[in-house]
């Protein structure tokens, strides 16, 4: 029986906010992949992934982040993660993902981080 998973994509202050909920593994990773792909296809390269309701992530799920991060960064955007629960954060940190991605506490912080970067570029 597959584990429940769902995602939502909304626009927040000019950025794409993908809200993940449930179990991200090999079965459900394709959904997530399709969501990011569609954002990229619509030329929205600034993506925040809200993981506050994400309970579990497997290597397949981690792979999805890796698939797109270089592309969005080349295009001037980024994928930032926020709201990671302890277990998921632990998984990310063992792998050293905190050195690849910005792992923030909540959505406003992530939005702020995008803003800071923009400001830095502007200056």
């Amino acid at each position: 029986m597959p584990n429940p998973f769902s995602l939502d994509v909304v626009e927040k202050e000019g950025l794409s906010l993908i809200q993940l909920e449930g179990y991200l593994d090999a079965h459900t990773a394709p959904q997530f992949e399709a969501a990011i792909q569609s954002e990229i296809d619509s030329e929205r390269y600034a993506v925040i992934v809200d993981c506050s309701k994400l309970t579990y992530i497997s290597s397949a799920g981690l792979g999805v982040f890796m698939t797109f991060v270089e592309e969005v960064r080349e295009k001037g955007g980024d994928i930032k993660l926020c709201g990671l629960v302890a277990r998921v954060r632990h998984t990310f940190e063992i792998l050293g993902f905190q050195d690849i991605f910005d792992l923030l506490d909540d959505v406003p912080s992530a939005v702020q981080r995008f803003g800071d970067k923009k400001a830095a570029e502007g200056a």
Partner: protein, 803 residues
């Protein structure tokens, strides 16, 4: 089949068939209007008369065509005049005797009672020299007719004479019965000069009476039309589906062709044994021009073969279209029939189906007769004698005679609906009751007209619905083979009843002989059902797969074998034994979750003489992971020849893996170098689970978590920047546990993870144990935690104990 069920079935048969025989005897018209003659006596009688006319006729071949006059039959049921009844017979046998050498032929028709009713001469040349007067001709005619009805002749009165063409004059007499306006007897003779070419005595029915009789069953004509339409549309639909299935490679050609062959052979046998063939045969085979090279005989067989081929063609399409559908059902009702076709006649499954069919065949005709009697209680049950009964009585090989028309209709309908349409519907409608209801409705309509015996819409409807419902139950509870056997058994049983009820002793004898054969058939199938061959696994499973899929199972077996080889290869790639490092004990194990896995451990002989211990884990499982694992191992082995710096080795491996993995996969790795002289452990951790270090000196247990990103995720710069090298000092009794997440994330039924905390506590308990013991302790603890849940990920463990 259990012997208890078997005895029940046999008991049912022993009770049911006599019931059928009794009902047949009391209700069926064929039982009442008996046949005094069998084929041989008919031919003998005809030949005697023919020889009296022309002595050559003794050598001429003879063919019998029998028919049933429905109007006479209906009259005899409709308050007939007793005097006329004795003279009328609904059945007549026409014996054709052609002279193979000349154009001459003699046609003699004999009634069911054994009276000659027609004599026709063909090809006889009148004497041109002597011209007879009309009166002389009339005398000849009268003499001829007197021979046909010697006792009754004085009651005939002359009617008229007329010229039918320039050479033939027709004379007719008639016998009228006082008080009976519906029918009279007509005596006819045609004379050509001095040859009486034709004499006949026929009943002639008043036209109003004939029309009235015809109207009684006019509604059936629509049903007949409907049945033909159904058959045509069904065949068309099956044809389309058959070709679609060919494209999809779902057709089992062999069994489809076998179905065609079997139905062709059966139809051929029945047709050759019928009066239809007789008719062609005598008209074609003995035609003088065709006689010379047996062309005539060949032609008649060819005609029948073509007809049989055409009649059996629909079965070909029904099966070709229906079998793929049926094999998709949970229980394939067609499989015993297929086994039967494949020749597995003595298997239990086939025997059981045949037995069920044979023992339950009587049910359908009993229902028909019962409804005919009960619903029209007080009236005669309706007198329609199927014309194919005539074929039965005059067949050359009696017991192989053609099935009754009603049986043929039922066979076609059953095949179309149950071997094709129903499986097709069941695969498309979620509620199977809809499919069954549709098929039963259509089947009942088709069956409605097939029992010509039953008059009255009410009786016909009840019996047809009941019959189809029972057939549906039989086919889906037992099998399609059981259903077809039941239909054939019903036909055979009814024909046997017809035979035993005739006055002719020969026919009766054949009837009883048939019953004995029937009994043997039941006994034989019972024996096979109990003691026959049990199906081999291949046959039992064959119904689930088409021929293509059976081949794929072989491929699957091949794949499995290859997996075994790969697993062995992978096991062999792991170090056989840990290296001997002075002052240190090492124990290591790797248990893949599937045939091949994505974990590895290795020991590297570094250029400076130290030993590197590696544990690595590829994201994912199975074959893809194992491929990357092999690549990683190769990279480590070659890079470790060039440098002893763990960080440098790891950085190099990352550069290569980044290109190979294309970021979709990654490898976590821990490479630690044990320096026995300096008593240090220097390690680089590329995203891998932090090892457990139990300090033997102060009893502290901590995780070794230097920074480092997993391999294959980022290119050189970021990776190199982030990777940390940590060096720790080892003391006596220190324990290092390197592991993969197959251990730390092992999940049990309650969805709990084993966790690093438990691992830490096991390490704390392991003081004083050897590396090997510690390894076993940990594995055992994980196993205990998992309980009955099988491990979902590869489990790798390397234990380093400092002595």
């Amino acid at each position: 089949m259990s012997s208890r069920r078997l005895y029940i079935l046999i008991f049912i048969a022993v009770a049911g068939y006599p019931l059928l025989a009794w009902m047949f005897h009391s209700i069926h018209p064929v039982a009442k209007f008996g046949l005094d003659l069998d084929r041989r006596s008919v031919i003998g009688l005809a030949r005697k008369r023919a020889t009296a006319i022309d002595s050559d006729a003794a050598t001429w071949p003879a063919g019998v065509e029998s028919s049933i006059d429905q109007t006479v039959a209906r009259y005899l049921d409709d308050r007939p005049n007793p005097e006329i009844s004795k003279l009328l017979s609904f059945s007549s046998m026409r014996v054709e005797m052609p002279d193979p050498r000349t154009d001459k032929s003699l046609d003699i028709t004999i009634s069911g009672h054994g009276r000659i009713t027609h004599v026709r001469r063909g090809g006889f040349k009148p004497d041109a020299a002597r011209l007879l007067s009309i009166d002389e001709q009339k005398a000849l005619a009268e003499a001829g007719l007197k021979q046909l009805a010697p006792d009754e002749w004085q009651r005939f009165t002359f009617n008229q004479s007329s010229l039918t063409d320039s050479t033939t004059r027709n004379f007719s007499w008639q016998m009228i019965f006082p008080g009976e306006g519906r029918v009279k007897l007509l005596a006819d003779a045609s004379v050509q000069n001095d040859i009486v070419t034709r004499t006949s005595i026929n009943p002639e029915f008043a036209s109003e009476y004939r029309t009235a009789l015809r109207e009684r069953r006019s509604w059936l004509r629509w049903i007949d039309f409907g049945f033909v339409l159904l058959l045509f549309l069904g065949t068309l639909f099956a044809l389309i589906l058959y070709f679609r299935n060919i494209i999809r490679k779902e057709v089992r050609h062999r069994s489809t062709l076998l179905v065609w062959f079997v139905t062709f052979a059966a139809t051929g046998i029945w047709l050759i044994n019928s009066s239809f063939f007789e008719n062609i045969h005598t008209n074609v085979a003995f035609y003088p021009a065709l006689q010379r090279f047996y062309i005539g005989h060949l032609l008649s067989v060819l005609v029948v073969s073509l007809l049989a081929l055409g009649m059996s063609l629909p079965f070909f399409f029904f099966w070709g279209a229906g079998y793929p559908e049926a094999s998709r059902l949970v229980r394939n009702p067609l499989s015993p029939f297929e086994l039967f076709l494949k020749g597995k006649l003595v298997s239990r499954k086939v025997g059981a189906s045949v037995l069920i069919g044979l023992t339950l065949g009587w049910v359908s005709p009993v229902i028909v007769y019962a409804t005919a009697r009960l619903i029209r209680f007080g009236q005669p049950p309706g007198l329609f004698i199927e014309s194919t009964f005539a074929d039965l009585f005059m067949a050359r090989v009696l017991l192989l005679a053609r099935p009754l028309d009603s049986s043929v209709d039922k066979l076609y309908t059953t095949f179309l609906l149950f071997a094709f349409v129903l499986p097709f519907l069941l695969n498309r409608f979620r509620k199977s009751s809809i499919s069954h209801a549709v098929v039963i409705l259509v089947g009942a309509l088709a069956f409605l007209g097939s029992d010509e015996f039953v008059t009255g819409v009410a009786a016909a409807t009840v019996s047809s619905i009941t019959t189809v419902v029972l057939l549906d139950l039989l086919i889906f509870r037992a099998s399609f083979l059981a259903g077809m056997t039941a239909l054939l058994a019903a036909d055979f049983a009814v024909k046997l009843c017809a035979l035993t009820n005739q006055p002719s002793l020969t026919l009766q004898w054949y009837g009883w002989f048939g019953w004995i054969l029937f009994g043997f058939a039941i006994a034989g199938s019972a024996a096979v059902a109990l003691r026959g061959k049990v199906l081999s696994e291949e046959d039992a499973r064959a119904r689930w797969f088409s021929e293509d899929q059976l081949v794929n199972r072989e491929e699957l077996a091949l794949l499995k074998a290859q997996f075994q080889v790969a697993r062995r290869a992978q096991q062999q790639m792991l170090p056989e034994a840990p290296p001997a490092v002075p002052g240190v004990e090492i124990a290591a194990v790797c248990l893949p979750a599937r045939e091949v896995g994505g974990d590895l451990f290795d020991f590297l002989s570094l250029p400076n003489g130290s030993v590197g211990v590696v544990v690595a884990d590829v994201s994912g499982k199975g074959v893809p992971a194992s491929l990357y694992m092999t690549l990683t191992k190769g990279l480590l082995a070659s890079i470790a020849e060039t440098t002893s710096d763990p960080a440098e080795i790891v950085r190099e491996v990352n550069r290569h893996l980044y290109i190979a993995c294309k970021r979709k996969m990654f490898v976590t790795l821990l490479l630690g170098v044990v320096d026995p002289e300096m008593r240090t452990f220097t390690y680089a951790r590329a995203g891998h689970n932090p090892p457990v270090w139990r300090n033997g000196t102060n009893g502290e247990t901590r995780f070794l978590g230097a920074r480092g990103i997993g391999l294959g995720l980022t290119s050189g710069e970021l990776f190199d920047r982030t990777l940390e090298l940590e060096k720790i000092a080892l003391g006596a009794g220190d324990l290092l546990i390197l592991y993969s997440d197959g251990i730390s994330e092992a999940m049990n039924d309650a969805r709990e993870e084993y966790g690093e905390t438990r691992l830490k506590s096991v390490a704390a308990r392991a003081d004083g144990m050897s590396a090997s013991k510690v390894k076993d302790l940990i594995l055992g603890d994980v196993q205990l935690f998992l309980g009955r849940t099988p491990p979902q990920d590869d489990q790798t463990l390397v234990v380093v104990k400092v002595l």
